[in-house]
Subunit: 315 residues, 2 copies
């Protein structure tokens, strides 16, 4: 189980290339929720999402042999950009598998960061299994989405929350594979066991939440539009941590997430991707349970496309 | 004439409440411009724009008598939120005049920061003249838009650019009343006289640019949609500084600004208000003059409304 000590050890590797993100207070959002509302702006990161913290810590901790072989992963989203960013920072070659027909703007972003993007297979699972095999053949290092070194790195934003606002009472955090929620909970609960940490997932992709509630790893249908929350098969290591540390884990409907994107735009003038807005959707659903309290909403990422945003603003 | 020394003196007052904003490198924007492109993210400030730096420096430097009388200004935009933020930080009362029918969401934002908002008159000039009179009667401190203490404060972002990327070759900065362009030019040119600083204004509100080009204060028709660039009557003190320090001052069409908002959304996943996007519009227009160089675009603010954004994304 990762500890606050691991997060502290990750910190110099993260701050070598990044700076702490702001935690801003938004009075008009607070009026909406009847609470004191702060937003942790992980959307301000260079690749637009919290994951880059984990990538930098992982790459910093690779052995010389692993560095020479290069790193391999599969992603169509923030994980891929994070690994590409970290590889470039250390002058390593990153190879990222994406399914055929992957979003060209996301491919361009990874290539812009110096990664080699390889198209393979019809879907993400096919691409990932193939690239694991490629990494093995070539003596490269495959990077999975919930490795402990990633959790240690992303936990640095949880620590920043506790340092900036030690009196926080509730932290609401989106859950995809769970690394962000785990890192946050480890930092927050170690420093103040009284702070509540609540996970949020889309009701249209409830595998992690159902596994948490039932205590058994459970797959579930995955139909959400929220790419960062789209987990079909739950991850055992993050489940174990979340079962120990989360106070609650709730589901919000995709339609509530879309409304939260609009509200964040209006009240904070920040772009949120679907996963990033899930924390506000969760707070709105919790209602009376957060009223009158000091709450932090983790805006985990802002990578939404102009087309998607246009359709949201017109619906 | 303000100096780098003034900016350094402002810095502790600014950093008492704010942290440096990121300067991010965007490879895909760079491909578009054939240059190495960095964006200075003043849209990440707590009130969404660079001006808050100036407000904090001004309020920190008030005398006890001025603090007791409270501060008064007129604004429907970022200046008002900046003054409200700074007043709250120091526990002072801010009174902000807006014209009747002012945008309710901007009024709510200023009230959320603890300011008293007073509606008066049909337009901004009427509201401003009235509140100057009120301040005089009540013994309060009226705050104008281009006071030197504001320039010293906003100059801290120019200094951050030079500290983070000392090898920068061109900085492109939007001009409204000119405080941002002045602060940037003072910091940049003092540290490296070889860096080019280029101002950008909307062709639909060219008063400052025409005054700069002709060497004579010149009013001009003001029809721009870019609120932050909407200066009808030029300011003498910022003109004087810009005449000495800007390498060029160009006009971009409102339609080019709108396209730049869309491009920033796509390539950086950041919201820009019209003024904030003018720097990218300027770089695109400069074309060959920035090709192959290291350039910084100042994204001065992100306060655009959801309705305006929706209409932009659909045009």
């Amino acid at each position: 189980m990762p500890t606050l000590h691991d997060i502290l050890s990750a910190r110099p590797h993260v701050y070598r290339f990044l700076q702490p993100t702001p935690l801003h207070h938004y009075p008009t959002l607070g009026r909406l929720l009847g609470a004191e509302v702060w937003v942790k702006h992980e959307n301000h990161q260079p690749v637009g999402a919290f994951k880059v913290r984990g990538g930098l810590n992982l790459v910093a901790n690779l052995s010389d042999g692993e560095r020479r072989g290069g790193i391999y992963t599969a992603s169509t989203g923030n994980h891929g950009q994070s690994i590409a960013f970290a590889a470039r920072a250390y002058g390593l070659q990153a190879t990222i598998a994406v399914p055929e027909g992957a979003n060209p703007s996301k491919v361009a972003a990874m290539e812009g960061l110096g990664a080699r993007v390889v198209f393979h297979g019809r879907d993400f699972d096919t691409a990932r299994e193939w690239i694991m095999e490629v990494a093995r053949e070539k003596g490269g290092r495959f990077v999975g989405p919930t490795e402990e070194l990633l959790i240690h790195g992303v936990g640095t934003y949880g620590l920043e929350i506790m340092e900036t606002l030690p009196e926080v009472e509730v932290i609401i955090v989106p859950v995809g594979a769970g690394s962000g929620a785990c890192g946050t909970a480890i930092a927050a609960k170690t420093i103040n066991p009284g702070v509540q940490v609540i996970g949020v997932q889309s009701a249209q992709a409830p595998a992690m939440q159902k596994s948490w509630t039932t205590g058994t790893l459970t797959t579930a249908p995955m139909k959400t539009v929220a790419e960062g929350l789209a987990t079909r098969v739950p991850f055992e290591n993050t489940q174990r941590i979340m079962r120990e540390l989360l106070d609650d884990f709730i589901l919000v409907d995709d339609s509530a997430i879309e409304e939260a994107i609009r509200l964040l735009l209006e009240h904070t003038h920040n772009l949120a991707e679907e996963a990033g807005a899930a924390s506000l959707a969760g707070a709105l659903q919790l209602g009376g349970r957060v009223a009158g309290r000091k709450i932090v909403l983790v805006l985990s990422g802002g990578n939404i496309s102009p087309a998607r945003l246009a359709s949201l603003l017109n619906s």
